[in-house]
């Protein structure tokens, strides 16, 4: 196994879960409030759009997109955020903000270069490589590229459980199930109340045919969030593979009643900041 593949393991020893939880909970609250205030109060610049052709040297580098067919608010946010860059092309925050705006509207081809630029201008801000990793994965980028971004973040923020869930997601999609399982379990150790980490660990273990562990984690996930159809479906699968067919059928019925949409949210302030851009539209 290459060293690169194990980067996430090389993080600092995790603090005790209770301590982490105390650290995380206020952080989440502050982050949520901050995200909302960002969306509401950040001055987005002059409402008069600067034509891309008027500042040629900079405008060439700023991703352009035809906003004429978008709804007004979206077009306005994009134009205003672009203009902020044109006014201050060396601002990492401005570039990152434009990346977030594109990212929030699923314009990933446009978001990625903005995040890259923000990373270049301010390598200390961990939001940009994290968001870029998410975007690059949506774009179908090479796993090594995505993992390098996520591992870099994990080195800097080993106390941030969502990153290990993201890493688990990437690895499991690559079929690197043992590493994925360990990443999810690490997230669950950091925050034992993190249902998505238990669900991921259970699903990875289900694929690894580690059925006892799968049942344990999936039951934990469904205790934490009892209405998550996908977790219940995986649990019913784990029961069935363990030969507990009657219980599998009952759990499957319960899963079906809750539907296909996951009700487990991942408390991830960095991604919430992106999502809030669209939520405020």
């Amino acid at each position: 196994m290459s060293r690169k593949k194990k980067h996430w393991r090389s993080v600092k020893p995790a603090p005790k879960p209770e301590v982490v939880k105390r650290q995380i909970t206020p952080l989440l609250i502050v982050a949520g409030l901050a995200a909302i205030s960002i969306a509401v109060f950040i001055p987005l610049g002059n409402s008069t759009s600067v034509p891309a052709t008027t500042t040629a040297a900079t405008a060439i580098e700023v991703p352009e997109i035809d906003t004429t067919v978008m709804i007004h608010r979206t077009a306005q946010v994009i134009d205003q955020t672009r203009n902020a860059i044109l006014r201050n092309p060396q601002s990492a925050e401005a570039w990152g903000r434009l990346g977030q705006v594109f990212d929030a509207h699923a314009l990933y081809d446009h978001a990625a270069p903005c995040y890259r630029r923000a990373m270049q201008l301010d390598p200390s801000d961990v939001r940009w490589p994290y968001n870029l990793g998410m975007v690059r994965e949506f774009q179908g980028a090479d796993v090594d590229e995505v993992m390098a971004l996520f591992n870099g973040f994990a080195r800097e923020r080993p106390d941030y459980p969502p990153i290990f869930v993201r890493i688990g997601d990437v690895l499991s999609r690559q079929g690197r199930l043992v590493e994925a399982r360990d990443a999810y379990r690490h997230a669950a150790e950091l925050d034992p109340g993190l249902a998505v980490a238990h669900r991921g660990a259970g699903q990875a273990m289900l694929s690894l045919n580690e059925l006892d562990g799968a049942v344990k984690h999936l039951e934990r996930a469904t205790v934490l969030v009892g209405s998550d159809g996908p977790a219940l479906a995986s649990l019913s699968q784990a029961y069935a593979f363990s030969g507990r067919i009657a219980r599998a059928r009952r759990t499957a019925r319960k899963s079906r009643a809750f539907g296909t949409k996951s009700t487990i949210n991942i408390p991830d302030p960095i991604r919430y900041q992106v999502a809030s851009i669209k939520l405020k539209r």
Binding site: V69, A106, V126, F138
Partner: protein, 582 residues
């Protein structure tokens, strides 16, 4: 303003440097992928040759779309390869939709087309003479012999009433929709034939998409006009038609409710029928768009139960319902157990459900096979598994084309708005151990044209021993690709024929033992997306020069062994002509 405490990142500069260019123009992910994959097969060797024009095929699909983003216009495009005139070569049937949308009462110029293959390999349009030029808003097609008279009949799905055409055996078809009591309105998509009650007559499973209402307008994440997703419309249940062929008045009866199908509603698109539970009774697997896929397990009493959730075939590894489009069932990893492969929307990978040893259960093994990551940026529809280069394992082809708008592709032959939805197709080579690599430039004629591909069917149209493919594309031309891949071995084609029923033994399980290995295929004509294919099963044999035996498990449970069969040919094996096995 900065959300998290900003730590100095010593390693970030190095991370940034990995594979990044700091240009700020959006880069197409497609562009970066092809050269890397191209190393798999030598450049300059065209493994698939587009022989559409020289074969005389001139079909052009029309959706009727005029930029109003009506969902039905982006979902059509079935295609069938089948031998309608029983002359031993495959003919071609292409599904069309409409030249106007909504479809007008006046006869649309866009109608389905039947091409008969002549002895010289050219295809001739015989639509008018055949009676198969249906002008409904066409979606898909299925082919099988519904009346056990020795020729293949045609079922056409439409947005609007489906049509059933009986083959008269003289090159013509009669529309027997009403005569045979086929009453399937709504939005039908893929169809599969199966004999679910084992009475010898083929029944019909029809997937139904959604309760569509024209005129609904949706927008993408950026607020631009776009196609609605399935959840913008009420879900519906599928339809099961029981063939009452043994009765005094043959026909079909809608048994959806009594069979239990109405208990589940979704947005079904692809379907494939197999005896997944290996109990001798055919089951049904349905790919559903944004809903849980369905695995209808035959209860052997005329009813089915959807056991997909606990059998592991409903959701992907992460427990997510994906946008199931096309589907195939085959023993992809050659372990003797049928697997499932389902194509999906971009941002979702295509999913490989590996069949587990306890019959009828599956686990998502997409990542392990290499079939996941390359598909993340594409929207897959039709899919087929066949041995491209005859090396003894099953390879996979996928027809792609978006349903969610993207930036227009300026290098596409399609004009706006269609150039926002075009994508290249995918072809994967199996390394023999169930790991796949995209075929690269060698397959470029198939994988390079950016179109909105939908229906995909496989069959050896030139009977030269390797399997060719046909694709139908929205607002594009149907394309026939001849397989010219360098051959890595010999082959065998088997037609499993039941003389009592005078038809192909749909559902028969054919296993070839050769060179110390065994390979299994199941006889069917329907899977992929909206498409139908050659009922002959095809085996690449690799370097093996001889065949130890061919075993067939017939749909009624009879097991026979056939010996003395040489490779590199097509053989027809008849039921009760082999050596019975215990």
């Amino acid at each position: 303003m900065v959300l998290l405490s900003q730590r100095k990142i010593l390693g970030v500069s190095a991370i940034i440097a990995i594979g990044h260019t700091f240009g700020c123009r959006p880069q197409s992910p497609d562009a970066a992928r092809l050269p890397a994959a191209a190393s798999f097969a030598p450049a300059g060797t065209a493994w698939f040759r587009d022989v559409t024009s020289e074969s005389g095929i001139s079909f052009r699909h029309r959706s009727g779309g005029v930029g109003n983003f009506e969902l039905i216009e982006i979902m059509s495009g079935g295609i069938a390869l089948f031998d309608f005139d029983n002359d031993g070569d495959l003919d071609l049937y292409c599904i069309n939709s409409a030249s106007d949308l909504p479809p007008t009462a006046s006869a649309s110029e866009a109608r389905n087309r039947l091409y008969r293959q002549e002895d010289d390999g050219r295809f001739v349009d015989v639509t008018d003479a055949s009676g198969l030029g249906d002008r409904g808003y066409g979606m898909g097609v299925a082919v099988a012999d519904i009346d056990n008279d020795g020729d293949v009949d045609v079922y056409v799905t439409n947005y609007g009433p489906d049509r059933l055409f009986r083959n008269n055996g003289d090159g013509t078809f009669d529309d027997i929709t009403e005569l045979w009591n086929v009453d399937v309105p709504g939005w039908s998509c893929s169809v599969s034939f199966l004999d679910y009650d084992r009475d010898g007559y083929l029944d019909i499973y029809v997937t139904q998409y959604v309760d569509y209402v024209a005129g609904r307008r949706c927008k993408d994440h950026a607020g631009r006009p776009d196609y609605c997703g399935p959840k913008a419309f009420p879900p519906v249940h599928d339809v099961l038609l029981r063939n009452t062929g043994g009765a005094a008045t043959p026909g079909f009866a809608d048994v959806s409710r009594s069979a239990g199908l109405t208990t589940v509603r979704g947005a079904s698109l692809g379907v494939v029928c197999r005896d997944f539970t290996q109990d001798g009774w055919p089951d049904i697997y349905v790919a559903s768009d944004a809903y849980a896929n369905q695995l209808w397990v035959n209860q052997q009493n005329g009813t089915f139960e959807d056991e997909s959730l606990f059998r592991g075939a409903a959701y992907n590894l992460h427990g997510q319902a994906e946008a199931g489009m096309g589907v195939l069932a085959a023993d992809i990893n050659a372990d003797g157990i049928e697997d499932l492969f389902v194509t999906h929307l971009n941002k979702e990978s295509n999913t490989f459900y590996r069949g587990r040893s306890d019959a009828g259960t599956f686990v998502d093994a997409s990542g392990l096979t290499g079939l996941a990551s390359d598909s993340m940026t594409y929207t897959g529809f039709g899919t087929v598994a066949f041995d491209i280069e005859l090396d003894g394992d099953l390879d996979i082809a996928v027809a792609n084309g978006r349903v969610v708008r993207a930036e227009p592709k300026t290098d596409s032959a399609l004009s706006f708005p269609w150039n926002m939805f075009c994508e290249p197709n995918l072809a994967y080579l199996n390394d023999g151990a169930g790991t796949f690599t995209t075929i690269g430039l060698a397959g470029a004629s198939f994988t390079s044209p950016a179109e909105i591909s939908r229906g995909l069917a496989a069959g050896d149209f030139d009977n030269d021993g390797d399997v060719d493919i046909v694709v139908n594309s929205i607002e594009g031309h149907a394309r026939l690709y001849r397989n010219d891949a360098p051959r890595s071995g010999s082959w065998l084609g088997v037609r499993a024929w039941d003389p009592r029923l005078m038809r192909d033994a749909i559902g028969a399980r054919v296993t070839v033992a050769s060179g110390g290995t065994t390979s299994t295929r199941v006889v069917d004509t329907g899977s992929s997306y909206l498409s139908a294919h050659d009922p002959r099963v095809h085996f690449g044999l690799g370097l093996s020069k001889s065949i130890e035996s061919v075993q067939i498990i017939w749909p009624d449970g009879l097991v026979e062994r056939f010996s003395g069969i040489s490779p590199d040919r097509y053989v027809t094996l008849e039921r009760a002509a082999g050596d019975p096995q215990p």
